[in-house]
Symmetry: D2
Subunit: 356 residues, 4 copies
Amino acid sequence: MTALLDRSMLALRKTHARPGLELCLHTPVPHVGPRDVLIAVTHAGICGTDRHIYEWDSWSANRVKVGITTGHEFVGRVIAKGDAVWRTQIGDRVSGEGHLGCGSCEPCRTGNAHICEHVDILGIDIDGCFAQYVTLPEENVWPIHKGIPDKIAAVFDPLGNAMHTVMAAGVSGRSVLITGVGIIGLMAVTIARAAGAGTILVTDVDSRRLAIAKELGADHTFEATDHTWPEQAKRLTHNQGPQVLLEMSGHQRAIQDGFSALRNGGTAALLGLPSGPTCLDLPNDIIFKGATVLGINGRKMYETWYQVESFLLAGRLDLDPIVTHEIPIEDYEKGFELMQSGQGIKIVMTLPPNGD
Amino acid sequence: MTALLDRSMLALRKTHARPGLELCLHTPVPHVGPRDVLIAVTHAGICGTDRHIYEWDSWSANRVKVGITTGHEFVGRVIAKGDAVWRTQIGDRVSGEGHLGCGSCEPCRTGNAHICEHVDILGIDIDGCFAQYVTLPEENVWPIHKGIPDKIAAVFDPLGNAMHTVMAAGVSGRSVLITGVGIIGLMAVTIARAAGAGTILVTDVDSRRLAIAKELGADHTFEATDHTWPEQAKRLTHNQGPQVLLEMSGHQRAIQDGFSALRNGGTAALLGLPSGPTCLDLPNDIIFKGATVLGINGRKMYETWYQVESFLLAGRLDLDPIVTHEIPIEDYEKGFELMQSGQGIKIVMTLPPNGD
Amino acid sequence: MTALLDRSMLALRKTHARPGLELCLHTPVPHVGPRDVLIAVTHAGICGTDRHIYEWDSWSANRVKVGITTGHEFVGRVIAKGDAVWRTQIGDRVSGEGHLGCGSCEPCRTGNAHICEHVDILGIDIDGCFAQYVTLPEENVWPIHKGIPDKIAAVFDPLGNAMHTVMAAGVSGRSVLITGVGIIGLMAVTIARAAGAGTILVTDVDSRRLAIAKELGADHTFEATDHTWPEQAKRLTHNQGPQVLLEMSGHQRAIQDGFSALRNGGTAALLGLPSGPTCLDLPNDIIFKGATVLGINGRKMYETWYQVESFLLAGRLDLDPIVTHEIPIEDYEKGFELMQSGQGIKIVMTLPPNGD
Amino acid sequence: MTALLDRSMLALRKTHARPGLELCLHTPVPHVGPRDVLIAVTHAGICGTDRHIYEWDSWSANRVKVGITTGHEFVGRVIAKGDAVWRTQIGDRVSGEGHLGCGSCEPCRTGNAHICEHVDILGIDIDGCFAQYVTLPEENVWPIHKGIPDKIAAVFDPLGNAMHTVMAAGVSGRSVLITGVGIIGLMAVTIARAAGAGTILVTDVDSRRLAIAKELGADHTFEATDHTWPEQAKRLTHNQGPQVLLEMSGHQRAIQDGFSALRNGGTAALLGLPSGPTCLDLPNDIIFKGATVLGINGRKMYETWYQVESFLLAGRLDLDPIVTHEIPIEDYEKGFELMQSGQGIKIVMTLPPNGD
């Protein structure tokens, strides 16, 4: 390990408080504590969050530490480990949970580390995986089954967001409305289909994404700008409205329309993050309806990870239309452009080996 | 029955589209269909809703039919029944569920008539129980156990609102915050205590009601105007916030403060009805918290009624500080005044017999 | 209606306390009470229970009233109705729930009539549907959507058993073991697949049925006589065992093997009825496992019926390999022979019109 | 730490494969790994399991390793820790979870370590806490709140068994039957009362324990030998039977009687361990009833521990009649005699300090 720690590595970092990232060639290899493993990253996915950091919007400027290595979706191989590491072996192919729970609060100690109050997030609070090496506590490491290809293993994190939302809401045998089919929304379509959803309805502003949603199993799609869609959604669900709302847009109007379409007694799972206050008609949207609303944060550790693995190994998910591009990290600017233009959906970057 | 139908009765009615009610002496006895029973009302509780109708606020003006007999909380005796009535006997002492489900929609046919989309409400959509006689479908009749006194039997309806909220949220072994202790909020305090709640925290604008809440089992109370209370609430619950929020005020600020106090992974049950849009910080109030939010409407038919009966017969509820006054219906104006002044909480009116 | 009641009808009845049934040509048309409808049956399914009654085994001899009209699975048209019937129209195409709850017990009044303690069952306690006419309380009538063909509408009852079992257990994203693929077990295979199950494992003594199970979506099948199957089942489910057991055989050995295969923390839903006591190793089968065991009785009224309708209308179920024969009621003996020989699975009988 | 490891300690050990235990004066202090803490035990509770080991029954002879230090209920102070320990401080007063999950199986990684398939149990598989020192992984350590006295802190483990059973079953507002009031059954009485149970019924063979159960909040008690008790239990619960069964006896007859008393739709939580096969009438006991049966193993890590702490700090539990004796470990034989004779219930032993 000594040799490694002396060596430097390539890393995509937020070096200045302005738009853009910098590909640094001589970043120090991260420290490995007694409970940590060091992973040589081979593939890393670009998240919508990374795009926010790249574009340096107001959220990023308030939340992200300048100087950090970005990225939190990845797969790689373990190449070093601390003395107290006990179940992970050098050479294991692994991904990892990017939310690092504090480990001692009530959520952490009751199997709910995804809602830890003191969480550190990879690539936001601590150095991330857009680099040749990343360090993670062994606790956060997820061994990747040999039946799962690298470019899918690299996106377990967002797949997990979608999975957690779908499974928390409970779609089996129920009609489902998905408002917003960005990357995670599209993943939710194929997951909902595999998880036994009844009629699947989808709305978005982007007609290309609606077409992909259909390909992935949506029964009906609506342009979000056609404000008659909640009425159409009701008509297509026995005049009662969908039983489940998966909110993945974070847009006030979509949230309001989604709630108004929701059936009495229905369940709304909220994943999309509005950037400001959201005004709801609580009596009609939630109270009189007897609705159940679930806030969805991250992935359950590690129930969600098992579910993702299980659906993948059973061959039930179709991710080909979603993971559209694989590019070398050196072309990261192209990656962000593909996302911005809408030509790409999920972009996976490959990392060059460092001679280990 | 013929004799009865020829007879007229005393009824407290909304005869004009303006504040006030009218005690009508010669109202026709209501019609009894083949599935209906006719009940001679002996006691009837005044609800906050009745006060809205009395005061003729904008909600009432938009919702309530002028000409209707008001009231929906009551106890009485069955004195006539239709031909297809089969389990109810003349002479039975009964109360009844004031939400009349349509009986044929999905909620009605799956044990969820409390969220029927086509519900008719006693005293709002159809003639109510502030009268010597009221008609109800047998389906809506609830036989009152002989161990339960009349003035308590008369308020099963609001007790049911409180019970449904508490039981839906699940308070057993969990810390509970109740925002707003009007009639139903106070009932929720004694129910939460009986149902096994841990620490019970209460906030309201009225210090007299806070004192009653303490008497009923609240561990700590906060003046709503002291905006440090969410912080205090956190401190009193292992620095994490209460695990359950029972929102019974309908006030935007209380709702916002309640959500901000709620523990990660907590449950919020919303019963109070805001009169306008409510603006929430969805990411921090619900999404990152992984909170569960439940809309609460009416009472479960008839699970909630069984629970109310069961807690009462086990002697676990203290309603004496809540049902403060029993007055003859002729003094109804005094009843509303007692509510308006805050001197009374739940007012029960007695109806004079009509010689049956 | 008078005309009808004077007329007699064809009915398949248990006229003697010995094997066999009798096709009676001049059975009186059943009485129609004020809340009842009279249905002209067009198609009726033969249940395993009917076969028990036909064969007059010890269960039947102890349970079934001699003189009764048999049958409880059907579809037909409403041709008469009582005075208090209010949502059903003459001419409606309907099936119906054969469990007649008492309507006044706690399960009945809380949406759980399927576990009413005083239930009457069509074709067992009261005259059934193997007849040109059957009477049912309107409450028990289920309107059949026009998109559903008669031979499927006729088997909503057993489909409902399978649906209730699958949905109560919760199969979405979980590996499932089905022990016993008689009629309902086979239905459970197609339903589990549609409801989002992961790996589906099936065991039975009959290799033909195992082949059909595969056709319907089972991933792996085991001959029940090969007692290594629980080990194989574990191996095929990440060495942990299936997460869900749907027990549909009622055989002690299958029950024991099923529990031994079940994963820690798994759910077992029991539908099959053992004919004697069942000996379990409670510590290892249930307690140390932290297993959840669910007793499944009938169908939820009417949540299960909505689910059946919903899956059918979405085109998610494959029942063609299950509903194998449609025969005239006059050939009922052939129907039972087809079941006994294993050549047929679900047999639907057609009833001749009676000139209405 | 070196000094400590050289020192020897007093420990109560199973030194021979025959009845009895041996108080060894020169047992080596246990090894402390990088993730472990070393705890100087001050108080330790004697469990029914310890009595089995003492008496060397057939279960013990098959399960327990000769040479082991016994005991798994305790409180003490941390006096040494491994290099990778990070949230525990020297001097902390702690108890600990005696089930050591493997940490890498699905239950362990999904917050369900209580049903780990590869668990090691303190005092059974590895050296336990009837000793001046015990080693535990930091993960298993539970910090004891200063408001909780030692003799209660020493019995968090069995309190946790009772708590897990009561909370898994869900007693709030429901009638409860407890079959068997040994130590954990008695704890379940006071917990059920605090957790909001309705009517509490208790049965046991020992009238002294029934008297204590009444003192702790049971409404009615039955001698188990009076086989009319299930009928009485029905009568006392609205003629329907209790809604919840907490089975804590492990006796076949009690289990059968308990199931027969259980209400349709009820929940049975099984904690008691029968020593052989248990024969059930599955159709009548579970299937037709639509019952839910839960296997209860250990305590949830660490949800149950939080619940125990929370109820204790709220002052809701009465344990004085249960923790009857506090004796020095040197008198351990008297402790077992007190249990055997029924004069004592929970016996807590104190450990002499070792000069640290």
